[in-house]
């Protein structure tokens, strides 16, 4: 399965981005073959609906799980609609977050904030 994270840099040692919609990069990890892929977030400089655009990117990539600090309700609507499970990130590197996820140690992300149009 494909797992996604919002990251600050293109390396497994990087910290995760505090935002989702305007994250710098997205990391996709494929558990089938252990591959890690980074892409620049196309929604980063969108003037509005960045959460929606970012979520769309993940859905199109076939992501099944997302590890993130926070999510706006617009992004959640897209992700839930596509059955993507969301988990609360820890303030560590991408690699540590991935390991904790696989070990079942990350909590589900339950509280979301309302959309802020033109902001996140």
């Amino acid at each position: 399965m494909k797992i996604a994270m919002a990251t600050l840099e293109e390396s497994m040692g990087t910290k995760l981005d505090q935002t989702f919609g305007r994250a710098v990069y997205f990391l996709f990890h494929d558990t089938e073959n252990g591959e890690n892929k980074f892409i620049e977030n196309p929604a980063r400089n969108a003037s509005g609906g960045a959460g929606i655009k970012s979520a769309q990117t993940l859905v199109d990539e076939g992501v099944e799980a997302l590890i993130v600090f926070r999510l706006g309700s617009n992004a959640v609507q897209v992700l839930e609609g596509a059955n993507v499970k969301c988990f609360r990130a820890v303030d560590e590197s991408a690699q540590v977050n991935l390991d904790k996820f696989i070990a079942g140690e990350l909590a589900k992300l339950e509280d979301f904030h309302p959309g802020y149009h033109h902001t996140k």
Binding site: G49, I52, A55, Q56, D60, Q77, G81, G115, H118
Partner: protein
């Protein structure tokens, strides 16, 4: 004749000036275009025979049966108002700008447009003034559809109470103005923001004049000095008085209760009429 009242800085007295101006003009229309925080209706508070009408914008409605999943609508939308999930697009109403593009681009006619309520317009009568107020729904980002609807009620001599600032909502409000009254106060804040709306009315090439409100200290010539530099006049100066502030605070039309104020506003009207010639 359409008179727009604007200020740049909030709280200088736009509504105070526009409501009282409309009050002394015979058979006038008062239009409140500050639809985020409309206050004119507080002063023209006769609710007998009040009419309320909803204001709408158009939102796309997607027929999933007709959708072939080509994603042309999602890809076209510049605002990310549509996402593609599973087998059909999903709409985000607060993001949608109602441009109509998705409806046009859909190859199968799967998208139609439906009304979405963004606010109301209410019309009442206060003595011989027609009072038109726009009220934007909380959470709606754009005032424009409500302002446009308010301005459709322009009739006879109209006084347009504008939103503060100089952004798109203010621009929309002055589109049909024959004269602009710029209300300011003798503070550095007032002056700073005044310069921005002077630029705006000059861009629109609308004749304008100044009203200086809340005058307390005769030695303060901040605004007088500036006004000279743009070759214009201060039409009237309104002195600050705690008694008047107290009355206005509770929604009194001061031109109904204070003869000096009534005369002052009559003078303002005459000067505006001269300025339009």
């Amino acid at each position: 004749m359409n008179i727009a009242v604007l200020s740049g800085k909030g709280g200088t007295g736009k509504t105070f000036v526009s409501t009282n101006l409309a009050n002394i003009i015979e058979s006038s229309t008062y239009l409140d275009c500050d639809v985020e925080e409309p206050n004119g209706r507080i002063f023209f508070n006769n609710t007998d025979g009040i009419k309320k009408e909803e204001v709408f914008r158009l939102l796309p409605s997607i027929d999933k049966e007709k959708c072939i999943g080509c994603r042309a609508c999602v890809d076209f939308c510049r605002f990310s108002g549509l996402a593609f999930l599973g087998n059909a697009p999903m709409l985000f109403p607060e993001i949608c700008h109602s441009c109509g593009g998705c409806e046009k681009i859909c190859p199968t006619g799967a998208i139609t447009e439906v009304d979405f309520n963004v606010g109301i317009v209410q019309i009442n009568k206060y003595k011989d003034t027609k009072v038109v107020s726009g009220l934007l729904n909380i959470g709606e980002a754009s005032s424009i559809p409500v302002i446009s609807r308010v301005l459709e009620e322009i009739e006879n001599t109209s006084v347009i109470d504008c939103p503060p600032g100089s952004a798109c909502s203010t621009m929309e409000s002055i589109k049909r103005a024959d004269y602009c009254v710029l209300v300011t106060e003798p503070t550095v804040f007032g002056l700073h923001n005044l310069k921005m709306i002077v630029e705006l009315v000059q861009l629109f090439k609308i004749p304008f004049g100044f009203v200086l409100n809340k005058v307390e200290d005769p030695k303060n010539t901040l605004i007088e000095d500036y006004v000279k530099t743009v070759n214009k006049d201060i039409l009237i100066k309104i002195p600050f008085s705690k008694e008047i502030a107290n009355k206005v605070a509770s929604g009194t039309l001061i031109t109904d209760t204070n003869k000096d104020m009534k005369d002052l506003f009559e003078t303002l009207l005459v000067k505006i009429q001269k300025g339009c010639e």
